[in-house]
């Protein structure tokens, strides 16, 4: 199928489970470039799995990575607690801490925080 005169797209319909533990499957229909279609077929062969299963696994993996990336962005932007970010990413608190460490996210403790803390320290007996 020609799209925009250059890109070949293949019509793929599959059902996706929102979460592994949820049994209800929704149907998603999308068109993909020929390259992705060929890659999916290759994975089907290598994994010896049905197309729908392959796509579910790939989607699940991509969504997991997207959520982690977004969670780390939330932390970097100072828009969530570590635990909120962990929940968003669907991982444990400690796993999120590891991911933040691996991503080199600073704790965002700045000189102004230090100045505030020093003021508080002065009040300590």
């Amino acid at each position: 199928m020609e799209v925009d005169g250059t890109t070949r797209a293949t019509f793929i319909a599959f059902r996706v489970a929102a979460f592994v533990s949820v049994r209800r499957l929704e149907t998603i229909t999308t068109r993909v470039p020929d390259e992705i279609y060929r890659d999916i077929k290759r994975i089907e062969e290598e994994e010896k799995a049905e197309r729908a299963e392959v796509i579910r696994r790939l989607l699940s993996d991509a969504i997991r990575r997207w959520k982690l990336k977004r969670a780390l962005e939330m932390l970097r932007e100072g828009k969530a607690t570590f635990r909120e970010a962990a929940k968003f990413a669907g991982i444990r608190y400690l796993e999120l801490l590891d991911a933040a460490e691996a991503a080199g996210i600073p704790i965002d403790y700045g000189l102004s925080d230090l100045a505030l803390d020093l003021e508080a320290l002065k009040k300590e007996r």
Partner: protein, 143 residues
């Protein structure tokens, strides 16, 4: 020092599940008696749950806030958002680096031990901008 049971679970018990190293420090602290695990009552958990809902935070964060308020204690964290919420609730929050400064100021740690504790934090994965770290070290020296 006190931590809610839920935080103990997510740090020590989850760490065991994840086979992470370094959890013995918390277990040792509890065994030595200077860290206490506090089990909130059902009614306290309800209050924490409402706090979690109103502040859009997780129950463990809310329990930490609740406990700090209940004990009139400082909340120690490296979580900027939690620090912000804590201060908005008039609960004093300090960062772990400040805890070290406080310990040196109170002569619980000497300056070398304070520097070593800061270094351990960095080695454990705490990322602090170099200019801030330098300033903390300078401050520690001047205490």
């Amino acid at each position: 020092m006190a931590i809610p049971a839920s935080v103990y679970r997510e740090t020590v018990e989850d760490a065991k599940i994840l086979r992470k190293v370094g959890i013995s420090a918390i277990e040792d602290a509890v065994a030595e008696g200077w860290m206490e695990i506090v089990q909130l009552t059902v009614s306290e958990r309800e209050i924490a749950k409402k706090l979690a809902e109103s502040e859009s935070i997780q129950i463990e964060d809310a329990e930490v806030l609740f406990l700090a308020r209940k004990l009139s204690a400082k909340l120690i964290t490296n979580d900027r958002w939690l620090v912000r919420i804590s201060r908005s609730l008039n609960i004093e929050a300090i960062w772990t680096t400040t805890l070290i400064l406080l310990a040196v100021r109170k002569k619980i740690l000497n300056k070398d031990e304070g520097r070593e504790a800061l270094r351990s934090l960095l080695l454990a994965g705490l990322h602090i901008r170099s200019n801030v770290y330098d300033r903390i070290i300078t401050t520690l020296q001047e205490l």
